[in-house]
């Protein structure tokens, strides 16, 4: 039987999903990227390979997320697509009536509006990572709370501390101030969750019509506190799928299925070395950063030149 692999390589975590001919998930995996997408993907594929039943053969690979281009090249993927489209396709396959997708990941956050199964509008955070997962996790570390317990702790507060929602620098100084005047940890944590929601709605969600049904996904959707404040502030039902963190990977797997060329992939990449070497081109005063991608010490692609010299 045929199956298709979708990989979503984000800044913080790497997600992999294997689907069958009916676009149903056979197996999935979620690991930390830890700053090395190549190593993470090797690890991810090793685990996935173990979990795919013997009689399945991989007929397509799709990659998405911020390292999609590099990993797509490494795996010879048949589809390499941006995370906005991937998330929309993935969510629609599970929830065909969805109108609004709220997504908060490690470094970015986005909103996707859907009408009759078609993306009609979207936005992505610009300039800074305020109100994303990496900010939450660094603050969790500051407060010495494991990130997994963060959401539960927030739910126990009845009086969330007011924390500036505009920018992480302000949020952080506000947070320190609230701690120093003696607010309890749960109130601070709850305030932080609330500020994430307000920040999201003021930045990414600005001017967008948020209509039900609403789906919340991305790593931060696992945080119960953030979910609570989304419901409270939007004053409507917000659902989180148990697979909410896998939607990008699922979407790209489905796209890879649709665009399958019939080629078979063996997934033997454990021993292949994959390296990127960066250098500055001195050809003109643009000083482009040239990235050379080597597979087993053999140059396979070059990126980054403005003039197309490479």
């Amino acid at each position: 039987m045929n199956c298709y692999l979708g990989i979503d390589i984000g800044s913080i975590s790497t997600k992999g999903v294997v689907i069958d001919e009916n676009d149903k998930i056979i197996t999935s995996e979620y690991i930390w990227t830890e700053g090395s997408p190549v190593t993470a993907v090797k690890k991810l594929i090793a685990t996935l390979k173990k979990n795919i039943p013997k009689d399945y053969i991989v007929k397509g690979i799709g990659t998405t997320g911020s390292a999609r281009k590099l990993i797509g090249l490494m795996l010879n993927a048949n589809v390499i697509k941006n995370e906005i489209t991937a998330h929309a396709v993935g969510t629609l396959s599970i929830n065909p009536n969805v109108h609004t997708i709220l997504e908060i990941g490690g470094q970015d956050s986005k909103i996707i509006l859907i009408e009759n199964g078609i993306i009609t509008d979207y936005a992505m955070n610009t300039l800074c990572a305020a109100g994303t997962g990496s900010f939450l996790s660094s603050q969790a570390k500051r407060l010495d709370i494991p990130i997994e317990e963060f959401g539960h702790l927030a739910l126990t507060s009845n009086n969330p501390a007011k924390i500036a929602a505009r920018c992480t620098v302000f949020a952080e100084s506000d947070l320190i101030h609230k701690a120093q005047v003696g607010y309890s940890k749960e109130d601070i944590v709850a305030g932080l969750c609330k500020s994430i929601v307000l920040n999201y709605l003021n930045n990414v969600g600005k001017g967008k019509k948020i209509k039900e049904p609403i789906v919340f996904q991305g790593g931060v959707s696992k945080n119960k506190g953030v979910l609570k404040y989304f419901k409270e502030i939007l004053n409507c039902e917000v659902t989180v799928d148990p697979n909410s963190h896998l939607m990008g990977a699922l979407g790209i797997a489905i796209m890879s299925h649709k665009n399958s060329t019939g080629k078979t992939y063996d997934l033997n990449i454990k021993d292949i070395s994959f390296k990127t070497r960066g250098s500055e081109c001195k050809g003109c005063s643009n000083n482009c950063e040239i990235l050379r991608i080597y597979k087993n010490e053999e140059l396979i692609d070059t990126w980054g030149s403005m003039c197309g010299k490479f």
Binding site: N82, E83, I84, T85, I119, T126, G207, S285, N286
Partner: protein
């Protein structure tokens, strides 16, 4: 006094027309500014206030580059927004850096003081002749018109070129030949030769052509380096691009256009909002009515007139159900972010068409 050297900032291919004009009316050397590169921007950013808009940084960078190449006279254009006052600041920055150059501004605060400019020009060239200047000014006006017609055709069709790069090459050839013309007759002949050649280039057009309109702040729209070659990226998705903002429009048609149109669009805009904000709102309505597949609005960060136009444009596009994207460019925008959003924009449009 020895021959003076003149330099000016650049936007798109228009530096060529400026070069043609000044080299013919003044007995002076014209310095061709190097192409805008990262170095230009670094220079501009280094000596600019941080929150000034990017056209200021780009043009200051080029001015410093031409001064470095020996320019004694620099020419700058003002605009209808706060850019109209920027030359004062640039002049100050350049003098503070210790460069003793003559700084001429052709349009300040939206007005051209011809008497003052003639005084300056006479200072540069004692034998400056007004008659000759008028003759070449008219010739340059036609040249810009032809340039814009050719580029408009290229923008609409370059995405479907069979052999990539042919159109751009012919366009550059044409621009170089323009520099040598002496009469309108010659200019027209070259224009006809090249527009025919360009129109004869083989195209591979799909059944449905995706039409995208680009509107926004004029410098960012017209200088490809400042919008990270947005038009080139869009052409890669086989899109046909329309943009109305070009030099011949801004310099010669804008005033009439607004005057004629603004009353009919009073539902959306009643007043002149400064710079091109009003024009862009009117264009957005027109493009929505004509059934464009999408609109992209670009501006440099902190561009106040365009910020006020954005919410109106957003409303117009919602009303007509046309997808719209907004981009703000600064000197440090990442190209990857732009590509991700454009790809999603393209996917969205494709999904709608299905």
């Amino acid at each position: 006094m020895s021959r003076l050297k003149i330099g000016f900032p650049q936007v798109g291919n228009y530096a060529q027309a400026a070069r043609f004009l000044f080299s013919n009316i003044l007995d002076a050397d014209i310095i061709t500014a190097p192409k805008i590169t990262q170095k230009t921007i670094d220079l501009g950013v280094k000596y600019s206030p941080e929150f000034v808009c990017s056209p200021f940084k780009y043009t200051l960078g080029t001015l410093l580059e031409v001064i470095d190449m020996g320019a004694d006279v620099v020419i700058q254009l003002g605009g209808g927004c706060r850019y109209g006052y920027y030359h004062e600041l640039q002049n100050q920055i350049i003098h503070d850096l210790g460069h003793d150059v003559l700084f001429i501004n052709l349009i300040s605060a939206g007005h051209t003081d011809i008497k003052k400019i003639i005084k300056y020009l006479k200072k540069i060239d004692k034998k400056f002749s007004k008659l000759k200047a008028i003759r070449y000014f008219l010739l340059t006006k036609h040249m810009i018109k032809y340039m814009d017609i050719v580029e408009d055709y290229i923008r609409k069709n370059v995405g479907f070129e069979k052999n990539k790069g042919e159109m751009e090459q012919l366009n550059q050839e044409m621009l170089n030949q323009f520099l040598t013309v002496k009469s309108h007759h010659q200019l027209k002949k070259i224009y006809h030769k090249y527009i025919t050649k360009i129109k004869n280039i083989e195209l591979k057009k799909p059944k449905h052509i995706t039409r995208i309109g680009i509107i926004g702040e004029l410098y960012t729209v017209m200088e490809p380096f400042s919008n990270y070659f947005l038009e080139r990226e869009l052409a890669r998705f086989n899109m046909s691009i329309t943009r109305y903002t070009c030099a011949s429009y801004l310099l010669f048609k804008k005033r009439k256009f607004i005057h004629k149109k603004i009353k009919k669009y009073s539902k959306y805009v009643k007043y002149k909002m400064g710079a091109d904000a009003t024009d862009n709102i009117i264009r957005a309505v027109d493009m929505c009515r004509e059934g464009y597949d999408g609109i992209i609005h670009i501006k440099s960060s902190f561009c106040t007139p365009e910020i006020s136009s954005m919410s109106i444009i957003n409303k117009i596009c919602k009303e007509y159900n046309v997808p719209v994207m907004f981009f703000s460019f600064d000197a440090n925008t990442s190209k990857v972010g732009l590509q991700t959003r454009l790809e999603a924009f393209n996917d969205m449009i494709e999904m709608r068409q299905k």
